[in-house]
């Protein structure tokens, strides 16, 4: 029997949290990130006001989604582009495959896009005989390793330069000595440049869809996004419906806030606006421009007024970077397209609460994610909402439901509670005395099997409280 998503999560998390090399790489990367973000926020006169402004923009967009999507569609068509509305990943992939087939596309270059990961576009195209090149350096590296992205912003953050150097020697046949980043980048560039000029189709995501002007806004740091969207004769932008924003001037807030939260930069190196195919007399740009608007569960989440704001997410990755759970278990352990707190909140909505409700517990509920979210999504409370919804939907395990009923009964009866505590202390003391802490018979095994046993108090809190009252 194959392991469930929850079982795989627990197994992978246990392995990764004990992998000290992995933890050191992540810690090193995140320490640099933390310092850059602090510097980046200091560039704002009022960072909190910026977050609030971005929250307002996204609230307005998401709560008038139909209006802004139609406005965006109208403008794109007026610019000579095509808009396709995909209810799910299959429809999106089929549209792009059919387009590629009609146009005789044999090679596709992709810039980084989490939505295309969500719908498994690359495997679908490869299955149709189309060669797909990931051109973002991090994505290119994980593609060579046949791995999904590790992080929504930095897909290869789990690897050090030595590992990448070895990978390039093995997979690209490059004669690389040492792990000099310049040499590594040059090797990737040599390979990818040929792909850029051979590709008939470029596929990108979109950071924002600007309704009032029908533009897509892309934030990248490597320039590959511009090559993907301007060199091949067809450009397809695949994006979630929630990416629409009302006005061009909203980017004055969203772009710097996204860059600051994502990497600590004031603005990403390449901030690009794309408004359709090449016009007569223009020297470059694609002959065809297509936008695929993907629903894939988003409209269902929209209907949940309590959790609608989850659709405000601008995919900066700040909640992942601050999360103590992510910092220990890393991105791949989640087994999802979107990792960390936002992934734990979003995935049960996109892929089913019964299979992914365990992610709601991949949190200490410390609230760090909420405190850094640039659009002020109340992430840790949404994890609680998901837990509650899973319990209401009856998707929790029978043993868990029984345990909570018993707990509820005990907690409502003080004498039984006191007796249970007395019994538990004595039982555990006996087990620990026999050296069975962390063994199969230890009820505290989940905690004790990897740690020293928790010291047992000699008396109950109630007794200590009474004594305290007597002495005061």
């Amino acid at each position: 029997m194959s392991a469930t998503a929850a079982q795989r999560f627990l197994q992978d998390a246990a392995v990764k949290s004990a992998d000290l090399v992995h933890r050191e790489i992540i810690l090193h990367g995140l320490e640099s990130y933390d310092a850059a973000v602090l510097r980046g926020r200091a560039r704002f006169k009022d960072w909190e006001a910026a977050r609030r402004r971005c929250q307002e923009i996204k609230w307005e967009a998401v709560n008038h989604l139909d209006r802004y999507l139609l406005q965006f569609e109208e403008r794109v068509i007026a610019h000579g582009g095509h808009v396709f509305w995909a209810a799910n990943g299959e429809e999106a992939c089929n549209y792009i495959k059919n387009l590629a087939s009609r146009q005789g596309v044999r090679t596709v270059v992709k810039s980084k896009s989490m939505v295309t990961e969500e719908i498994h576009l690359s495997p679908a195209l490869e299955k149709a005989g189309i060669k797909v090149w990931e051109t973002d350096l991090g994505e290119f590296i994980v593609q060579l390793r046949n791995e999904p992205p590790y992080h929504i912003v930095t897909p290869a953050m789990h690897l050090n330069r030595g590992q990448i150097s070895e990978l390039f020697r093995e997979k690209l046949g490059e004669d690389i000595h040492g792990d000099d980043p310049t040499e590594l980048v040059a090797a990737a560039r040599r390979k990818l440049r040929r792909a850029f000029f051979a590709a008939e189709m470029g596929i990108s995501g979109a950071n924002f869809l600007v309704a009032d002007s029908g533009l897509i806004a892309l934030s990248t740091n490597e320039g590959n996004g511009r090559l993907c969207t301007s060199v091949p004769r067809i450009h397809v932008a695949v994006t979630g419906i929630e990416k629409v924003i009302p006005r061009l001037e909203d980017l004055a807030y969203l772009w710097p806030v996204l860059a600051t939260s994502g990497t600590g930069q004031p603005i990403t190196t390449y901030s690009t606006l794309i408004g359709g195919p090449r016009k007569p007399g223009e020297p470059d740009g694609p002959d065809e421009f297509h936008v695929v608007l993907l629903d894939n569960g988003r409209s269902k989440l929209l209907a949940d007024a309590e959790q609608r704001e989850v659709l405000h997410c601008i995919r900066c990755g700040a909640c992942l970077n601050i999360c103590p759970v992510f910092r220990h278990i890393g991105g791949h352990s989640y087994g999802t397209t979107y990792q960390g707190p936002i992934g734990s909140v979003l995935t049960p909505h996109l892929r089913g609460i019964s299979d992914f409700q365990h992610l709601s517990y991949a949190s200490s509920l410390c609230g760090a994610c909420t405190s850094v979210c640039p659009v002020k999504i109340d992430l840790h409370h949404h994890l609680l909402h998901n837990r509650r919804n899973a319990a209401r939907a009856g998707t929790t395990k029978l043993s868990e439901r029984i345990m909570f009923r018993v707990w509820r009964y005990i907690i409502l009866h003080p004498r039984i509670y006191a007796l249970t505590g007395w019994l538990a202390r004595r039982t555990l003391r006996l087990l620990y005395g026999l050296g069975l802490a962390g063994s199969i018979v230890d009820p505290m095994r989940v905690w004790n099997r990897r740690r020293s046993a928790v010291p047992l108090p000699s008396e109950s809190f109630r007794t200590r409280w009474r004594k305290g009252l007597a002495t005061n």
Binding site: F44, K45, E56, P283, K300, D304, A305, R308
Partner: protein
């Protein structure tokens, strides 16, 4: 209006409209007197500072001749090969003044060749806040 044939379009829009019937709580509005970005008193100076932070070399020149000399200096520093230049009358005269012996490919002649060593363009706006 031209429509891409798309059977899911109306279904998605219908689902969105149905979903939005339940209102979500509005966020507290930003106080209008809260200033998000520092005001910039000297935009040119700030632009230059940001350029330095972005590892961009920004050179101020007094007139067209000085600009042409500066451009010639930059072009001379590059390895041999073609330079791609945006088709524009002011750049035409600047390149002429620069007197570079390099092969020039104008944007009106089509896309740059892969071997182009540099691109010369105008800038419509300089953004002081980010050095963009």
């Amino acid at each position: 209006m031209q429509q891409t044939e798309n059977s899911s379009r109306d279904r998605i829009l219908e689902r969105i409209r149905a979903g939005l019937r339940a209102p979500a709580p509005e966020p507290a509005e930003t106080s209008p007197d809260r200033v998000i970005f520092e005001s910039i008193n000297n935009p040119l100076q700030r632009f230059q500072q940001e350029c330095a932070a972005n590892l961009t070399e920004c050179v101020l020149t007094a007139d067209t001749m000085a600009s042409a000399l500066q451009l010639a200096k930059v072009l001379e520093s590059l390895p041999a090969g073609e330079v791609f230049v945006q088709e524009d009358p002011s750049l035409r005269s600047l390149i002429e003044l620069a007197g570079s012996s390099r092969p020039i490919r104008w944007s009106s002649q089509g896309a740059p060749s892969e071997a182009s060593q540099a691109t010369v363009t105008l800038a419509e706006t300089l953004i002081a806040q980010t050095g963009s």
